[in-house]
């Protein structure tokens, strides 16, 4: 019987104590998700900065190993928080950041636009572990369209959607990772989903026509 893998916090403590193998294990565990998160959050325009941001995020983890304390958040949440800060810094420097407060104030009280419910009826059911044939091709095209739709989302909503739907963080963890309140995180996620549904419904509907 194989021993259960140590938790992220235990590995981080071990690395802080000088265990390099613990860091390698942490890296292997989170490298793909973090790299994907950074790349999707940066978008196509800044995709060239993905490696830099990704490396800088991990180096911050390395340098902060002595000071790291769980403090109510998991290592994964902290890792994505570091990456999010670096991306926001990069977006600010590039002038692409949109004030989330202005965005939220403009849309406050308004119900996000919802596409027609009929549009979603043409979507196939969520595939299993390994879709085949046309179904796989459909989901690939849907994925490409979703990435395009993500490009249209403001970074705060984008990060909320990615953290919640791609990386599997709960709303609490999303709020903690984004260093915002729970309701704010929830609102951001709701707006993000509404826009994505509209965007994706408009795209997918003709497919099945």
């Amino acid at each position: 019987m194989a021993t259960p893998d140590p938790s992220d916090d235990a590995l981080m403590k071990a690395y802080a104590a000088g265990d390099a193998a613990a860091f390698e294990q942490l890296y292997r565990r989170h490298q793909a998700a973090l790299y994907r998160f950074v790349r999707r959050l940066l978008g196509n325009a800044l995709s060239a900065q993905t490696d830099e941001v990704f490396q800088d995020t991990w180096l911050r983890v390395v340098h902060a190993r002595q000071r790291w304390q769980p403090q109510g958040a998991t290592f994964r949440t902290w890792l994505f928080t570091l990456a999010h800060h670096r991306v926001i810094d990069l977006l600010r420097r590039s002038g692409r950041e949109i004030s989330s407060d202005a965005l939220e104030a403009a849309s406050e009280g308004d119900e996000p636009w919802q596409p027609e419910a009929a549009a979603w009826q043409h979507w196939p059911a969520p595939a299993g572990a390994a879709p085949q044939g046309d179904e796989l091709a459909f989901w690939r095209r849907a994925g490409e369209k979703l990435l395009d739709c993500l490009e249209q989302l403001p970074p705060p909503q984008r990060s909320a959607f990615l953290l919640h739907h791609d990386d599997g963080l709960t709303l609490d963890e999303v709020a903690h990772a984004l260093e915002v309140g729970f309701e704010t995180a929830k609102t951001r996620l709701r707006y993000a989903m509404s826009k994505l549904r509209t965007c994706m419904g408009a795209y997918l509907e003709p497919v099945h026509r």
Partner: protein, 489 residues
Amino acid sequence: MNDAERDAWLREALRHAPDSGALPPQDVSEAILAQARAAARNAQPLPAKAAPGATKNLLLAFWDWLARPPIAAGFASVMAATLVGVMWWDRPLDETLPRRPEVVSERAMAPAPSEAAAPAQGAMAPANNEESTSGTVGAAPGPPMRPDVGNATGALADSAPARRQAPSSRSAGARDGKLATAPAGEERKRADAGAKENVERADRTAAAPTPFPSSEDRRAGLARQPSVPAAKKDAAGLATPPSDAPVPADAAAGKPVAAEPATAPATPPATAKLRSQAEMVPAPTRRRSDDEQARASASNKVEMDVAKSAPAAVAPPPAAPTPAPSPELALRRGAFGEREKQASAFGASPAASAAPARSELAAAQREGAVRAAPLTGVLGDIATAPARWSRWDASGNAVALDAGWRDWLTELDAAAAGRWRQVRTVGADSERDGTATLRLVAAGRPPVVVRIDATTVRIDGPATGERWQATLPPPVAERLRASAGRLPP
């Protein structure tokens, strides 16, 4: 279809996105892992590296603490004191310390010609005269201690209580006429005990900082004076004859010993003992600077000389009276001069500026004391060469000085002893009725005129331009005038 189902579709689409399998480049991963391993290797020596940093921080904190004004001022004071101490480190400290009795005793062992020739000089006001006068006559089983020994020791003890005590003890001794007959062994034990106590006190007070001149001045002073304070010089000048010498009653009673022939040589042990006792100056005196001590000693000595010379005039004229001062007086004068030199050697203090004036005053007083008996010299000269002397009679003719007038002069000299004082010569006094006048003339000498007017005796001309005056008790003056009236005019 609800949102949950649509969100499931969105997640599925996201999972099949083209970048879903994207991984960081291999080089990036290698770089990250390499830096992570390097950091892990350095994780162990981190505490060791923290030590220099901690030390540095500690030093910086200490420096910040030291930079505060009160701390900095205190530190600067300590540094200045340390610097002064280091600069003074190579200087001989024993210059400022009181001399050990052994050292002085060793010096006393070395025969000094002047000291050996003048054994008995210091019949000064003793602080411990009470000891010498409190004993009973003839009770000394051992060699009696000479009174001048105690006098010398007491004179050097120039503390205020000792000075206050000296006249009363002297007068008490004179009244009682007792001899200093305390047993010599007991006396010496007492003296030794006092000496030990004084040595301990001096040692204790020697640790206290004493005002000292600069090193050059001190060295110059040491070159001029062999590092013996004036008090020690006094003690050296007060060398005494052997302790087994007979003690005259007058001396034991506190009377001056000026008339005593100073022929007994000073024995080194006794001298050393004396010096040791003289060294036992009380602590307050030790704390004073040397120049003050020298001046105080000189002044004290002058006072003693003046006080002693007056009783000496009362004493009958010696067998060979001479106007020149006695050898003792000369030696004392020499010692006084030496002490004056010593006192002037330390002229750095402001108080030393008054030393010359005080010196002149003391010299004048001393000279006055020497000549405080103006008739003594004249009588001595008459005794040695009576043929030279004559007197003017009432008609102004020179007649031989007969024995009656000589006896009258001797009686007058004895009656006026200690009362003479020199006065300014204003002019010739007119003789009033009842004035007895004797005009003496001698070949090669100015005339001497002796007058008794009421109770005042005046003598003009024992030296050129001098006038001496003494006030006699009325019965004595009356008796002298009456006897002069019975003599041939």
